[in-house]
Symmetry: C2
Subunit: 139 residues, 2 copies
DNA sequence: CTAGCTGCAAATTCTTTGCTACTAT
DNA sequence: ATAGTAGCAAAGAATTTGCAGCTAG
């Protein structure tokens, strides 16, 4: 048996029942450097077990999301995209020309968001931010 | 004929053909103080002309969005919500308990976002940010 | 007049779910 | 053992679209 993926171990910690399908799906998400959608996760999973159904992928990512193990993003293209919940929160820049996604953290930004909310009488519980941008070409 | 809504005038400026249905839909969006989704816009439009189909609402908001007259938002509940494109850009705080949406502008935030993008080699073309929060009760 | 719009229903796309057989624990 | 899971196909929800008749300009 191949070694456990990071996400599989997180699932075990939460006491989730680990089926063969879930192991593969967990591994696919763990190894993904990008932010794959369900169809893409399914495509990669099927390469390792051609019997996995897309319904199982949907059920699995939903389950993992409910346990806080993966994060769901909606980048505006209509389908949900996933990544292992990062240790440190980060936001995304989407290159509108290439679709490439860059992650970043900015503590100043996080602080400012909290302040804005407080100024309006709210306590921030979550936020979502995406920057849409184009690469600056060196002239 | 009732007077023209703000959004209807914007449509005319763009040279859009103004049908009865479009006038009503424009007016509904113009007068909405909230951020109605297509179903809600349709519901309000039907009160003034019970023949308007929801397909027309979909087509109309899409058209107006393509002309930059309305803005589409996805607040994470699966359906798109609309508002007349504001003069000055603003972001949203969503009260996760009540669903209430508060608009705000923060120049400092806008600036910071541009800086973050530039720092990573990008030129910001757009952004989306929603703060999810709960009202601070006075103890 | 005629390009463009509308209503209707069928089609798409993404996601969820009922059911029966199967499997992790 | 047995509660939870997988596959399949059908159901849903939001949105789009083909078509034939209607309408703004």
């Amino acid at each position: 048996m191949p070694e456990k993926s990071e996400l599989e171990m997180l699932c075990l910690e939460k006491g989730l029942r680990m089926t063969g399908q879930r192991r593969i799906i967990a591994s696919v998400i763990s190894l993904a450097g990008d932010h794959p959608d369900v169809e893409e996760i399914h495509k990669r999973a099927v390469q390792r077990d051609n019997g996995i159904s897309i319904a199982t992928v949907y059920r699995t990512v939903k389950l993992m999301e409910e346990f806080g193990l993966v994060e769901r993003h909606e980048f505006g293209d209509g389908r949900a995209r996933f990544e292992v919940t990062p240790e440190a929160h980060h936001d995304h820049i989407i290159d509108v020309e290439t679709g490439e996604i860059v992650e970043f953290v900015d503590p100043e930004l996080e602080l400012l968001q909290r302040h804005i909310a407080e100024r309006l009488g709210y306590r921030l519980v979550d936020h979502r931010m995406e920057l849409f941008a184009v690469k600056i070409t060196g002239r």
